[in-house]
Amino acid sequence: MTTHEEHAHPQLGFVRKYIFSTDHKIIGVQYIITAMSMAVVGGILSMLMRLQLGWPSAPSPTLEGIFPTGFAGGIMAPEFYLSLVTMHGTIMVFFLFTAVLTGGFGNFLIPLQIGARDMAFPFLNALSYWTFLLSCITILGALFVEGGAPLGGWTAYAPLSALPEMGPGQGDGMTLWIVAIALFTASGLMGGLNYVTTLLTMRTKGMSMMRLPLTQWALFITAILGTLAFPVLLAAGILLTFDRIGGTSFFVPAGLYTASGVAVEHSGGHPLLWQHLFWFFGHPEVYIVLLPAMGIASDILSTFARKPIFSYRMMVYSMSAIAFLSFIVWGHHMFLSGMNPILGSLFTVTTLLIAIPSAVKTFNWIGTLWGARIQFTVPMLFAVGFVSTFISGGLSGVFLGTSASDIALHDTYFVVGHFHLVMAVAPLFAAFAGIYFWFPKMFGRMMNMTVGKVHFWISFIGVNCVFFPMHAMGVVGHLRRIYDPTQYLFLEPVYGMNQFISIAAFILGGAQILFIGNFFASIWLGPKAGKNPWNATTLEWTVPSPPGHGNFGPELPVVERWAFDYGLPGAKEDFVMQTEAPSRVESGSG
């Protein structure tokens, strides 16, 4: 059998093995490292934003040297600030979170955790990564074209996004933005196709759907969400492109003119149509980011609580319910858009409906910790951090989902605080947890846990200092996407808070250098990891770290139980591998 394996997978050269690889593990790692690089860019952009918000228009000759146009005269230009806003949002939502959670963990974990040798369509998988890389290059290109990156925010509301004459960056920058998003969509769809097919057809013996680790359920549901949501964004992007370069008028009504009085040659369209199409995609996208984070956090919580996840079934059902409901809540982004207020009422109902499965998940995570024997490893710390930030951000969502209280809070820092906690920090923490957890499986070495702990403590305090006070700023009325808040007198009470947040953000940003350094140093210098350094139960921990090509030995593993047998009474250890046959447990109990 072994010789057969070797025959089937001949030794590949470095390029075929690590660069143009079709091995799902390599592709997963490629996704993670690419997404991390994008996160560095997105993070630096946010630091520049914080600089401007904390000390509006402070002269900076140094930055003028780096960004001659953005800081012309030593002071940040308003359009440069807005292009930072757009690029930060776009990069983080798509190129970090969607990429790292579905692309990274999805590719790396799906075959390993379900007992498959690779994805269903390995070549398509590689193509998905290379398309993603191309889209990364394209979106970064937007920073360097004439006029700079688009300034309309990641939501690209029409007609601002449809009319190049409405601002710098809305020309070539915006075009590149659309191309990048279209490429990203294509990449995501190829990935999703692979994930669903692999998860349904390639599970090993005994791996019934209800024995899947929750990460797998989350990735499965996410892939379906992506399959249903991404094409709608693509359709909207195609229509927008025609508006921009084909002269059509889907999103542009008649009778518009520019600030200099030049009439716009369009007629008949409807600006709200873009918002409907965008958010029909955009809200599921929130859960495309969040669901894998939930799955990863659930599995890691259970592992280090040394206790089964509380109510596995409800976890699966609530994820499915969230996924379904995510398609009928998009209007809560549009309460004040001029949409029919009856729809506002309907969307309030559906939105608060989605709070129920989210609450179920929270109860279940807390229930998992009840009576646990918690090992405070770095992945566990981040998983608990995930739960805490998810609660904070989730609850502040209730204010925004209620149409009446949204009036005061819409487009303020309350919204910024809310979505950062719930769909940026929470997924980020889950991703950190996942990387610390599966790093040994990826590279065969452990990350440095002391540095990891420092990284966690600074990050956890940091995010709460940065994002929680934003809610209070939003209550005062601090508008989002504002280049200079000191323009408004009613914001005077929060000028100081802006500086506090900026300082906290710099510390938080700086702490991420620890992580990146730790990550790359540990690839070569970390202590060697065994098969199962965490005493976890799932299939990837039955094989060497890192697993060889084809993942499993000559025989695929046979699954005998669910993934959460931690602390099983009668068992010898406090964990029972999924492959462990029941008889073995019994003998252990003797």
Binding site: A77, P78, L82, V85, L151, G152, Y157, P159, L160, M166, G167, V252, P253, L256, Y257, A259, P271, L272, A305, R306, K307, P308, I309, F310, Y312, R313, L336, G338, P341, G344, T348, L352, A359, N364, L369, G371, R373, I374, F376, I391, S392, L395, V398, F399, T402, A404, I407, H410, N464, M473, V475, L479, R481, I482, P493, V494, M497, F564, G567, D574
Partner: protein
């Protein structure tokens, strides 16, 4: 081998994490129960009910926040690993879950009803017959206010008449002859209903008067109606709350609530020479 018999241990990282969570809960609660960071002073009739919804949601989510973060803090403090002691092996409790789901659903239902009653009041109530109508046009990056003048009727707007002095292309023939147009300045009278007709000539803007709890998009191609009654005289800031381009941050205007009709009329007269 202890089969889960035991109590777990209070560990150092557990205490630190639980303590941090506790501190975080205390500071967060403080942030929201002191009035240090609160809404701008309320100056409109409908605003009170909106603030009321906020407070109701704040109480409900506040309780949930303290309870869940508190439990999280307690469990991480209380249930640290203790040697090779096992955790308790249970993973289902349908009854407890049903109670929690039911409780959540019930609370949310009440919130929805309360919130929607207020929403309904604001969006499904027509402005009073005698309310003053002001057309508000957002354009990069200024607010243009138009009053119908003595005839009470707005004149036609024509894109071909747009010029550096005629921002909205007002046709001065016909009903537009007596229209009063003011750039960046709006006046209204204390305790008198005002209806604003929101329009835009380029991209989406948002007419936002924080003190009056007014916030509504101005969408090109649509005319969106919004109405309010100011209850405190004074000068208020009007902001654009929807990203509209490079100088979005300084697309602002001033709203003056005049104490008496006479003051308002005087302002109107002052505007005439500019027309």
């Amino acid at each position: 081998m202890a089969n889960g018999v035991g109590t777990g241990k209070v560990t150092v990282p557990g205490v630190v994490l639980g303590g941090l969570l506790a501190i975080f809960v205390v500071i967060s609660t403080w942030l929201f129960i002191t009035d240090r960071y609160w809404f701008t002073e309320l100056s409109s009739e409908h605003g009170a009910s909106l603030d009321g919804v906020f407070i109701a949601v704040l109480i409900v989510t506040g309780i949930a926040f303290v309870a869940t973060q508190g439990l999280l803090a307690y469990f991480v403090t209380r249930y640290g690993a203790n040697g090779d002691e096992k955790a308790s092996y249970w993973h289902d409790n349908p009854k407890a879950e049903m109670i929690l789901i039911g409780g959540t659903a019930l609370t949310l239902t009440i919130l929805v009803f309360y919130g929607q009653l207020v929403w309904y009041d604001i969006y499904f109530t027509d402005p009073p017959e005698d309310s003053m109508v002001v057309e508000v046009t957002g354009q990069q990056f200024q607010w243009v206010f138009r009053y119908p003048g003595i005839d009470g009727e707005f004149g036609e707007r024509n894109i071909s008449l747009v010029s550096p002095t005629n921002f909205i292309g007002l046709d001065r023939n016909g009903a537009g002859a007596d229209d009063i147009v003011a750039l960046g300045q709006m006046h209204a009278v204390l305790n008198q209903p005002v209806t604003v007709l929101l329009r835009s000539t380029d991209v989406i803007h948002n007419f936002h008067v924080p003190h009056l709890r007014v916030k509504q998009d101005a969408v090109p191609g649509l005319t969106i109606e919004n109405h309010f009654v100011a209850t405190i005289a004074g000068e208020y800031e009007i902001a654009c709350a929807e990203l509209c381009g490079a100088n979005h941050y300084r697309m602002k205007a001033a709203l003056t609530i005049d104490e008496t009709e006479a003051e308002f009329d005087q302002w109107m007269e002052e505007q005439l020479p500019f027309q």
